[in-house]
C-alpha cells in the first residue's frame, strides 16, 4: 500500500503552478469516486487532497465484508473496496496530495482558492475552478452525551477502537460494554469477540437499533451478544482505568429510571453514539449548513450555496453504506463537470428564490437534497427518525404518496420524484402559494 502511495505522490508536479480545474478535498470513498469520475469525464487538472498518509479514509480499517454490492456487484471488504479505487486513482491522471490538510476555503475573489498545510510543501495556496467537498465525519464522544462519573482511561469511541484493533494491532481491553447500537458498535462487538474479548452487552438508548438489521443478526445474534434496547449508561466508575458502569432502563422520554440501575464490571466502554459531518472547512467559506444533516444544504446536483462548490460523502450527511457515498461522489463529479462546461448556470445558486425548498416533516430526521429546481428528476435520500411498518412517504403540495413496506433509521430511503411530478407543483403554485414541499412518513391506516 505504501508503495502505491509513494507512486501516487510522485505524480504531483512540484511546479509553482497550482491552478486546477477541480480540487477534491478528502480522499475517502466519496472523494476518490469524485476525482476518478471527473477525470474520466475529461477534466484535465484534477487534484485530490487527503490529510492522512494514505487514501481510503475509513475503508482500510473496515476489514469486514459488505462493501461493493452496488458498485462492483460483489461482496468486498473495506480494504478491497479501497484498493480498487486507489488503483483507479493511480491509473488516471489525477494529482494526489497526501499528508495535506485543507485549512481555509477562500471564495471571495474571482478564483476559488484553498489554503493547505502540507508536510511536503508547507503552507500553500491552491486555486480551482470548481471544488468538491468530501470531508467525512467524526464520532460523537462522551462529552457530547454527558455521561456522569469519573474520567478514567478506557472510554473510547467505536471507530477509534476499530483503528486500534484492525490497523495498529492491539486490543483496548478484555471486558467490554458497548453503548449505542450504531453499525460500527455492532461490527466491533463481533470483532472483539473474535479477538477473545468478552462483550457484556450492547446498550441502546432508543427503543430500536440504529444499525442495519443484517448487522444485528450477523454481529450480535451469531455470537449471542445481548442487545438491551431503551437502556443507557448512567455513571462511569474507575480511578485510572474504568472499572464498571451503571446501566439503567429509560422511560418513554428517554430519562433513566434511576431506581433500577445495575452495575456492570468492565475495563472498556465503547461508544457508538452517532457521527457528525465535518464541516469546519465549509464554514470558513460561509457555506449554508442544514442543521438537520449537519452538512451543506444542496440542490439535486449536490451544489452547495456557493457557486461551483459541491459536496458529497459523509460531510454532506452520514451514510450507512460506502457504495452510496461512491454514487454521490460520481454525482458531485458529473455536476462539477457540467459547471466547468458552463451548463449548470441556469440552475445555479441554491440561494436563488427560484428553487423549491424541501422540508423534513413528520418522522423524518433529514432529507437530501434540501432544494430542487423541479426541472429534472430527483432521487431523494431520506433518513427516517423512527422505524415504521406499512408506511408511506407523502410529498405535500404535489399530492404524491409512495408506499414503503418498512422504514428503519438505520437504512437510508431513496425516493425518486420525476420532473413531471414537480411540474404539477410548479403549475398549481403561482406566486402567492407556498414555495416548499414538505415530506413526511406516515403510517398506513387500515381500511383506507
Amino acid at each position: 500500500m505504501v508503495k502505491l502511495i509513494k507512486q501516487a505522490e510522485n505524480k504531483i508536479k512540484h511546479s509553482s503552478d497550482s491552478e486546477y480545474d477541480l480540487v477534491v478535498i478528502g480522499g475517502g470513498p466519496g472523494g476518490m469516486a469524485a476525482a476518478v469520475k471527473a477525470a474520466e469525464l475529461g477534466v484535465e487538472r484534477v487534484l485530490l487532497i487527503e490529510r492522512d498518509s494514505f487514501l481510503g479514509g475509513i475503508l482500510p480499517q473496515c476489514i469486514h465484508s459488505g462493501f461493493g454490492i452496488k458498485i462492483f456487484n460483489s461482496e468486498l471488504t473495506g480494504p478491497e473496496y479501497c484498493q480498487l479505487f486507489v488503483e483507479k486513482v493511480r491509473n488516471i491522471s489525477i494529482e494526489v496530495m497526501l499528508d495535506t490538510m485543507a485549512l481555509t476555503l477562500d471564495l471571495k475573489g474571482d478564483k476559488k482558492s484553498i489554503i493547505v498545510s502540507s508536510r511536503n510543501f508547507g503552507i500553500k495556496r491552491i486555486t480551482a475552478k470548481a471544488i468538491i467537498l468530501s470531508l467525512g465525519c467524526r464520532e460523537r464522544t462522551r462529552g457530547q452525551i454527558l455521561i456522569p462519573g469519573s474520567r478514567p482511561a478506557g472510554v473510547l469511541t467505536a471507530g477509534l477502537v476499530q483503528k486500534m484493533v484492525n490497523i495498529e494491532g492491539f486490543l483496548p481491553g478484555k471486558n467490554i460494554v458497548i453503548l449505542g447500537s450504531g453499525d460500527i458498535g455492532l461490527i466491533m462487538a463481533r470483532r472483539l469477540v473474535l479477538e477473545g474479548c468478552k462483550v457484556k452487552g450492547v446498550f441502546e438508548l432508543m427503543p430500536f437499533s440504529t444499525g442495519l438489521l443484517r448487522n444485528i443478526s450477523q454481529c450480535l445474534e451469531d455470537f449471542e451478544i445481548p442487545l438491551y434496547l431503551s437502556h443507557t449508561v448512567t455513571k462511569i466508575y474507575g480511578d485510572k482505568r474504568i472499572k464498571s458502569v451503571d446501566i439503567a432502563m429509560v422511560d418513554k422520554n428517554l430519562n433513566p429510571i434511576q431506581t433500577k440501575t445495575k452495575n456492570i464490571k468492565c475495563d472498556t466502554l465503547l461508544l457508538s453514539v452517532g457521527l457528525i459531518p465535518e464541516n469546519e472547512l465549509s464554514k470558513t467559506a460561509e457555506i449554508e449548513i442544514d442543521l438537520k444533516t449537519g452538512g451543506p444544504a444542496v440542490d439535486q446536483y449536490l451544489h452547495t450555496s456557493r457557486n461551483g462548490v459541491f459536496a458529497c460523502g459523509n460531510s454532506l450527511f452520514v451514510n450507512d453504506l460506502a457504495d452510496n457515498v461512491t454514487e454521490d461522489g460520481y454525482l458531485a463529479a458529473q455536476s462539477a463537470v457540467s459547471f466547468l462546461n458552463g451548463r449548470l448556470r441556469s440552475e445555479k445558486l441554491i440561494r436563488s428564490k427560484k428553487l423549491i425548498n424541501i422540508e423534513a416533516g413528520e418522522n423524518i430526521a433529514y432529507i437530501v437534497p434540501q432544494k430542487v429546481s423541479g426541472k429534472s428528476d430527483v432521487n431523494f435520500r431520506i433518513r427516517a427518525s423512527i422505524p415504521l411498518r406499512n408506511a408511506f412517504i407523502e410529498f405535500s403540495n404535489i399530492g404524491l404518496k409512495k408506499k414503503v413496506r418498512f422504514v428503519n433509521p438505520g437504512e437510508l430511503i431513496f425516493a425518486k420524484i420525476t420532473k413531471g411530478d414537480f411540474g404539477k407543483f410548479l403549475e398549481c403554485n403561482t406566486k402567492t402559494a407556498s414555495d416548499s414541499i414538505k415530506v413526511s412518513i406516515k403510517k398506513e391506516v387500515q381500511g383506507q
Binding site: M1, I63, G66, T77, E80, L213, R214, S217, Q218, E411
Partner: protein, 123 residues
C-alpha cells in the same frame, strides 16, 4: 414442519424472512417476506448449512503496517469461524503481498482459502 424467522444478511436491506421447513428432508416448504431470489438461497444455507464470510487480520513485519487484513475467498462454515480466526493468526506472511493472494489453501479442511484483502508492497 418447523417455522423460523430470520434476517436475510445477503444485502443491506435485511428482509425478515418467515420460513416453514422440514429439517430431516432439508427442504423449505414455504418462504415469505423476501424481496428477491437471494432470500431463498440464504434461507436454504442458513437452515441447513450456515456460512459467513470470515474477516480478520494477521501480523506482518512492515515498517508502516502492523496488520494485514485477510478474508475467506468464499463464505466459511459458521460453526468453524471462531476456531478459524484463532488458527489464522499463525499464518506467516511474506511481503510484498497483493490483494487476492492466497495465504492458505483449504484452510482447516473447510474448503475455504484465506486470501489477502489488501496490497502491501513495502517491508
Amino acid at each position: 414442519m418447523k417455522k423460523k424467522k430470520m434476517t436475510c444478511i445477503t444485502c443491506p436491506i435485511g428482509c425478515l424472512l418467515e420460513v416453514d421447513y422440514e429439517l430431516t428432508k432439508k427442504e423449505i416448504i414455504s418462504l415469505k417476506s423476501n424481496q428477491c431470489k437471494k432470500g431463498y438461497k440464504f434461507a436454504q444455507d442458513e437452515l441447513f448449512d450456515p456460512k459467513r464470510i470470515l474477516t480478520t487480520t494477521v501480523k506482518i513485519n512492515s515498517r508502516f503496517f502492523k496488520r494485514l487484513p485477510v478474508r475467506s475467498n468464499i463464505p466459511a462454515p459458521k460453526g468453524m469461524i471462531e476456531r478459524m480466526v484463532k488458527e489464522i493468526k499463525k499464518i506467516q506472511i511474506n511481503l510484498p503481498v497483493k490483494m487476492g493472494d492466497v495465504l492458505a489453501i483449504n484452510f482447516m479442511d473447510t474448503g475455504v482459502n484465506i486470501i489477502s484483502s489488501a496490497t502491501i508492497e513495502q517491508q
